[in-house]
Symmetry: C2
Subunit: 358 residues, 2 copies
Amino acid sequence: MQSIVEIYFVIFTIYMRGKKRTTIYDIAEKLNITASSVSRALNNSSYVNEATKKLILKTAEELNYKRNTLASNLRKGQTKTIGVVVPRINQNFFSNVIAGIEEATYQKNYNLIICQSNESHEKEIKCVNTLINQHVDCIVISVSVDSNDYQHLQNVLDQGIQLIQFDRVADELETLKVINDNEQASFEAVCHMIEQGYKKIALLEGPQNLNIFRQRKEGYLNALKKYNMPIREEFIIANAWTKELGAEATRKLLSLTDLPDAIFASTSDFSALGVLEVANDLAIKVPSELGICGYSNEAFTEITSPSITTIDQFSVYMGKTVANLYFQEMENNDTVVIPKIISIKPKLMVRGSTLKNS
Amino acid sequence: MQSIVEIYFVIFTIYMRGKKRTTIYDIAEKLNITASSVSRALNNSSYVNEATKKLILKTAEELNYKRNTLASNLRKGQTKTIGVVVPRINQNFFSNVIAGIEEATYQKNYNLIICQSNESHEKEIKCVNTLINQHVDCIVISVSVDSNDYQHLQNVLDQGIQLIQFDRVADELETLKVINDNEQASFEAVCHMIEQGYKKIALLEGPQNLNIFRQRKEGYLNALKKYNMPIREEFIIANAWTKELGAEATRKLLSLTDLPDAIFASTSDFSALGVLEVANDLAIKVPSELGICGYSNEAFTEITSPSITTIDQFSVYMGKTVANLYFQEMENNDTVVIPKIISIKPKLMVRGSTLKNS
DNA sequence: TAAATTTCGACAATCGATTGCAATTTGAAA
DNA sequence: TTTCAAATTGCAATCGATTGTCGAAATTTA
């Protein structure tokens, strides 16, 4: 019995392989009318007799007609597609942003083409070019870590394609932008730590060519300044943005003669996790002997012991904002396009790892 | 100064808005040749003089020409695009699979269109139809939890589009499939727990219309059978596949007169986390008084205390496998298409939460 | 030098849907 | 019954790239 079904399947597949899809011409021919009428009926345009319209729709259904979006898009000059380029699809923050974008675009019947740059400038350029070739209506991008020039983004604008940058943005390009107020968030985080009684706060910073890491450092410095605390170069560790690098930086910091009593892992929760693990290994008590603050509000920060204080970026909301910004700009495209920046205020999530006072 | 730059930008934008992109006809006109030659040159086809080819490429560069993929695809009848439908983009397992697919497809110069069904059958149908309209070459899908019929997938096949199911698959549809050997993995996990000395193992099961959850239950039952342990209906809790439902199920289990001494959260690590939290609340010691095993190897399972025993599904690898399966099938499409199933063997990750003996 | 091959590039059709304009039909008013 | 406007439908061009066919030019061979 099983084998019969299989054979049938195989024949069926072969049969279908070469078969052409039904087009509006097939429908027109069958009904002895022209393709234009069919098109009008399918697009629910006026100027089609109600009776014939019904007939056309019924026939389309019968023949299992599916519109060829390629042809339609080619003719209409728009694809109702948004291209997204992110460093890594499977990084929590980005997959959440994408989910947010998807949610908003789905409602408007838009499609999403997704690429990941893998933090490579070269691949990022290729992705962008592909999206241009695909004639997407809009490109949404968060630049990769080793991006240094932005000719490829300028290209997007030159081709008349809307460009929205989010999170990691090239400041010098005047485009629509959706960003987090990293500076303010960092400032608040460090202020919170100071208020908890930490006096020697170290910073794990990320690659400074990315605006977000510059801003987070700025916030850190501002907080120190506000409380008249000295800035110590040896407490600022560059390029500590993975768990391993965070751990390494921590070992370095904890081998100083004058130890820090808190570490602000401004790069990510992963580096904060690295800090926590090293502290645990060295039997240094968190938060009493060492305070730890991360960045991003990854799910795991809630369940470590102690739980990790961090900063929530409202990533899904950010995605929705990006998409809606585009739709908004589309709707009043009659007037002038003015570069617009939307800044989202992240939220400090105070947890066990910085609660020295309680 | 600032405002001058802005004004310039605005003018520039408006100017670009209405501008047509350069086409092969523009290039042809400029060089006084025909579009066909331009096309051939750009496609690196033979039968173009080396000198003119160079000239064409140079001119294309100068005019900032970008190929219109829509037109090209329409003509060629293939889009070099793969459509992916998953329940949730930002769920770890799926975002990893997508990353894997992306990696493999990028190398072959294929594009990815991504949709999420949000676990809704209705939305899943819409996604699939969109992808059909887009004339994607292949659709990759993991069905949503409330899928009950598969007419929309049959449709994909009817349109002559390659269909690959992964992880959550409709058994009755004969398509290419990439799955995990859930039954075997569950079997091993439960055997491991029994060998650790647990005698009364409860099961948190997922919606049984999904094949993966049926298989995991089967593995659980087989392990009990192997060790001649009784199957107790009250130890099997249906539909416990979120953290909250896992916690709720645990409270229910721990209020029985005859308590289980281990819980296999076959649905996810999140439900295992729920179990762990309830155990902690009730001051029940893990693993000595209660063993816990999850499923999926989420990042956080490593950092809970105790860390959670779980099952790794090699999600990124799974994505690559899916994509490569497609390319492989493409390459030998001269012969018959035979439904093919690739089964990946997941790996039991033994951690603290089940190590009763040590 | 004449004949036979290659090489090169032009021509025109094609992919499928859309749309401005023209032609036809319908129905109502005169 | 005639006239006129409105409602339908048809015609044909268009979107941009690709490709089979064929003639002209260049090159090789006899």
